[in-house]
């Protein structure tokens, strides 16, 4: 691939009253990647997705998707993309199979082709049994899975998933993650995924952009982003009488950081690979570690470092 699957330059979207929901966003997503667009509610994620999926014109800036300009060649863009918008907007009075059939026609597929692909997709998202039931009877997770199938009926090059797991219980969330990962590996489709869950971006995305108040505040692989703000912390729990000895041995690697009364913690200068060296050093002086805890910096820490605020995701509701 010689061009990026999604490319944006200086996107701005101003709404009535001068509110800048998107304030100069530039990004580039290589083909075949899962790109995580992470930010709290109201950060401008959905507005950007609406611009990239030709639903909303930007006030300024340009964007291409699948090599086509979203403003000048919206029809070509629409042929390349699959879209599952927030809240899975699915007509509750239709059955899953009927909606798949309709979606196929909208994409210009023949009836036969749609039927064949529809059946395969229903199997893949595990909705064969519910295919002929009205969507109104589906659970939240089933709706999202149907939404995913609908977005895939025409085998798109770029898949936009706007908060695909918001409001889902943890099990449904993991099922959906597996689906997304699998289709990315199998079909090579680029996935542009917005989320307010750090864990989701960390789990799925090869590259993450963090957005706050309409601007991208950080951009990179999850590991790069974490490395940028800090090293993993190793915390060793020892018996109280060995605390001083342990502190002495570990101080040779790095200055201990505040920790509990029965443990010593340092940030590993060489990353997680340094655990063995510390353990060996403790062993050499006869200190018995009763517990070891290695904690990687999280994307939450990155968000905190970049914006000075904690990310507050919506409560996860089980329905």
């Amino acid at each position: 691939m010689n061009h990026a699957a999604v490319e944006a330059r200086g996107l701005v979207r101003e709404f009535k009253g001068g509110v800048r929901a998107v304030d100069g966003v530039s990004l580039s997503v290589p083909a075949g990647q899962i790109y995580g667009f992470l930010g709290p509610n109201g950060a401008g994620k959905s507005t950007i997705v609406r611009i990239l999926t030709t639903l909303l014109a930007p006030t300024a800036g340009t964007a291409t998707v699948g090599g086509y300009d979203v403003m000048r060649e919206p029809e070509s863009v629409r042929r390349k993309i699959g879209v599952a918008l927030q809240d899975a907007a699915i007509d509750p009075f239709m059955t899953g199979r009927e909606l798949l059939q309709l979606q196929g026609v909208l994409h210009g597929l023949s009836r036969r082709e749609t039927r064949a692909r529809g059946s395969r997709l229903l199997e893949r998202v595990d909705l064969v049994g519910a295919a002929d039931r009205r969507v109104g009877t589906y659970s939240g997770g089933m709706r999202r899975r149907l939404d995913l199938a609908l977005a895939l009926i025409h085998e798109p090059q770029v898949l936009f998933l706007d908060e695909p797991t918001t409001g889902l219980d943890p099990i449904s969330r993991h099922t959906l993650w597996d689906e997304v990962r699998q289709l990315n590996t199998e079909s090579g489709a680029t996935v542009f995924l917005t989320t307010q869950y750090l864990e989701e971006a960390d789990e799925l995305a090869g590259r993450v952009a963090i957005i706050a108040e309409g601007r991208i505040v950080a951009d990179g692989t999850p590991d790069d982003l974490k490395a940028e703000i800090g090293l993993p912390t190793l915390s060793v729990t020892v018996a109280r009488e060995q605390l001083d000895a342990a502190r002495g041995a570990m101080a040779r690697f790095a200055t201990p950081v505040p920790s509990g009364d029965s443990s010593v913690a340092i940030q590993l200068p060489e990353g997680a690979a340094g655990v063995a060296g510390v353990v060996r050093a403790l062993d050499d002086i006869g200190v018995v570690a009763t517990g070891l805890d290695l904690s990687e910096p999280s994307l939450d820490d990155v968000f905190m470092a970049k914006t000075g605020k904690r990310m507050e995701a919506d409560e996860v509701t089980t329905s």
Partner: protein
């Protein structure tokens, strides 16, 4: 082009399925006109004979069929507009817009569904009226002409409903067409002939284009008026449909550009 037609067909099929599965969406547009037809034809059974100036008709039932069809089509237009608006509210419309489907099909599907519903209802009312003794005076060609009127009438009402939906994006606002439709209908000759009206009411009914549409429709059914009345009514209803469809396309364009 054939793909655009297939897409319009698929979307209108979906609109029809959805309408059928939600009884609230079609029962009122069938029940209220039927009830009014029964009440009026019972209450005013002797009006044609006793009221001076009442056009020559076989019975009040024959006279009121056109008004009944008009009423059903207008109510169906309102429900269609409300359904379209809830597609916008719920995000289903975005799903359609983000697909490469023909832009014309986005609105054409709903309006086509409204036409199908209008024609089905018209046929049903005529059947019921026939069972109760009414006769289409111009026979089968007359029946076909009535259905042609219905097609354009439903296109006009459906187009207006969809226009309001596109402009407001809210099902409640789209329901606002209802009082307007009711005023247009009752301040016209839909239920009584202009010959028996007087004063300001007659002035309003004379200006109201709906009067001419209903009167035109009544020519083949009840044998009132002449070919000129039928042609005038047909021309006006085609004009109304054209205006409504142009308004729909303009509103669609504005919504897609994000001006609304």
């Amino acid at each position: 082009m054939s793909l655009a037609l297939r897409q319009t067909g698929a979307l209108s099929r979906r609109a029809l399925i959805r309408t059928m599965r939600v009884p609230q969406a079609w029962v009122p547009s069938l029940f209220f006109p039927l009830m009014l037809m029964a009440i009026f034809s019972g209450s005013f059974a002797q009006a044609p004979d006793r009221i001076p100036g009442f056009p020559e008709v076989a019975g009040f039932l024959d006279f009121i069929i056109a008004g009944t069809i008009l009423q059903a089509v207008l109510i169906a237009g309102t429900s269609g507009g409300a359904a379209f608006a809830s597609d916008i509210e719920g995000g289903f419309f975005d799903r359609l817009v983000s697909s490469p489907a023909s832009r014309l099909a986005l609105v054409g599907g709903r309006i086509t569904a409204n036409i199908v519903i209008g024609v089905a209802f018209a046929a049903f009312f005529i059947l019921v009226a026939t069972i109760f003794g009414a006769r289409i005076s111009a026979g089968v060609p007359g029946l076909l002409l009535v259905l042609v009127f219905t097609v354009f009438l439903a296109a006009a009402a459906g187009g207006l409903g969809v226009t309001l939906a596109l402009r407001s994006g809210s099902a409640e606002a789209a329901q606002g067409a209802f009082p307007l439709f009711f005023a247009l209908m009752f301040f016209s000759s839909a239920f009584f002939p202009r010959e028996t009206m007087d004063g300001w009411f007659k002035t309003v009914a004379d200006i109201n284009p709906v009067s001419y549409v209903v009167e035109g429709m009544r020519v083949p059914i009840a044998g009132t008026g002449d070919a000129w009345d039928a042609l005038l009514g047909l021309a006006i209803v085609i004009g109304l449909a054209a205006i409504a469809l142009l308004a729909t396309l303009r509103s669609l364009d504005r919504r897609l550009k994000g001006d609304l």
